[in-house]
Symmetry: C2
Subunit: 215 residues, 2 copies
Amino acid sequence: MPDELSIYPRPSVTIDCVVFGYDGEQLSILLLNRRDEPFANQWTLPGGFLHLEETFEEAAQRILKDKTGIENLFLEQLYTFGGLSRDPRGRVLSVAYYALVNPAKYQLMVGQMANELRWFNWKQLPSLGFDHAQIAQLAQVRLAAKIHYQPIGFELLNAQFTMSELQALHECILGETLDRRNFHKRMMASGLLRSTGERREGLKSRPAELFEFIP
Amino acid sequence: MPDELSIYPRPSVTIDCVVFGYDGEQLSILLLNRRDEPFANQWTLPGGFLHLEETFEEAAQRILKDKTGIENLFLEQLYTFGGLSRDPRGRVLSVAYYALVNPAKYQLMVGQMANELRWFNWKQLPSLGFDHAQIAQLAQVRLAAKIHYQPIGFELLNAQFTMSELQALHECILGETLDRRNFHKRMMASGLLRSTGERREGLKSRPAELFEFIP
DNA sequence: ATAACTTCGTGTAATAAATACGCAAAATAT
DNA sequence: ATATTTTGCGTATTTATTACACGAAGTTAT
C-alpha cells in the first residue's frame, strides 16, 4: 500500500489568534505590525506556523508568548479558514483561536518579527493583511453570541469586580445599555457569581460590593 | 528571506463528515467500513485528504460523492481536530464538517475504498476508528443546540411536510416529547414556515395540512 | 460643618413568553 | 354504523423579561 500521507501534497497550517482585551472602558483587539513580507508594515492578527509536535493550543500559546509576551491565556477555537488565496505564498490554512485577556495583567513584548504591537478598539480596526479582517469579524460575532450564555467576564476582569464593572463589559460587548437593576437580578439568578462581602472603597462615591465568579 | 512555507514541515489535512439523515422515524449517521489500514474493517466517518486546489467545502463534496454517492448537500464546518496521535500514520489534522440529508433523495453508492456503507442510529453508533467517536459526539451536541434557533428541517424533510413530521424530527433531535399545540404555535410564530394549502391524504386518519419553509 | 455631587443598592408592577391542558372534526378500518 | 386514529385549534396558568424611582453611602467643594 502506498503511503497515503506522502502522495498528497500538504498545505501549510498556521494558527491565528484574535486576542480580546478589556481595560475597563473599551474592548480591544491586539494587532501586530508585520516586519516581513507578505504584508510587511501592515497590521495582522498575531499568528504563526503550527509545528508538527504541538497541538493547536500549544502552538497558539507558544506563538502568543513569542510574539506578544502574553502567556497562559484562555483560548477557544473559532473556525478554520481555508480560502485558496488567503496567503500569497501558497496554500495556507489557518486554524483561528480567540482569547480573552486582562491587559493589566500582562506586559506586552514585541517579538523579533514585528515592528509594533498595539491594542485597537475592536470596532475601529485598521485594514488588515491576509483575510484577518474576516477572522476578527467572526470572532466579534462569536463573542457577542457567547456572552448570552457564558460568563465571559472572568478572564477579562480582575478576580474581584463590582457589578458596574461587569455591566460595563457586557454593554461594551453587546453594544447597548442595560438596566442596572435587571442586570443585577439576572447575574445573581445565573448562579455564576457571588458576593465576596468586601467593598471597593476610595473611589469618588459610595463603595461598591465586590463579586467573584464561582469556580 | 527563506521561503517560510518550505522550512516548516507540514501536516496532512483531511476532511471528515458527519452526515445526519432522517427517515421519518430515526436520526442516523452515515458510516463507512474501511477496506484499508489504518482501521481496516472498522467503522469511521466518511473522509479523505484535502487537495491543494480545492476549498474545504469542495473537498467535502468531492469526498462524499466519491465515497457515498451523495451530492450537493448542505454542509457546515464543525470543528478542527488536531490531536497529535489521532492518526497512526503521522500528524493528520481533520477539518470536520456536518451535513443534513434526506436519505430518501439519494442512492448510496459504496466507493472503491470501502467495504460497506450504512446508516446507524445516531445514539447507537458502533465503536469508531481514529477519533471519530469524538467528532460524531460534538456534531450531535451542535445539532441539538442549533435546532433551538435554526430551521434544521428543510434539509432533512421533504419540501412539503406536515407539522407532525416536523415535530417528530425535533423530538428525535432533542430527545424529549413536545406538546403538539405549543409546537404548532411556536413554529408558526417563528415565521419560518407557511401552509401550502394542500393536505397529505391516503393515510389511516384525518389528512394533515402540508407546510413548507419560507425561503 | 454643610451642601452638592456621584455612584450604589434595591422592589414592584406591567408585559411578554412559555407551558399545561381537552374536545370536536376528518378521515380509515371493521 | 361504530370504533379508531390523527388532526386542528383556544384559553387559563405560570414563568420570564422588561420598565421604572428613590433613599443610602460615600467624596468633593465651599
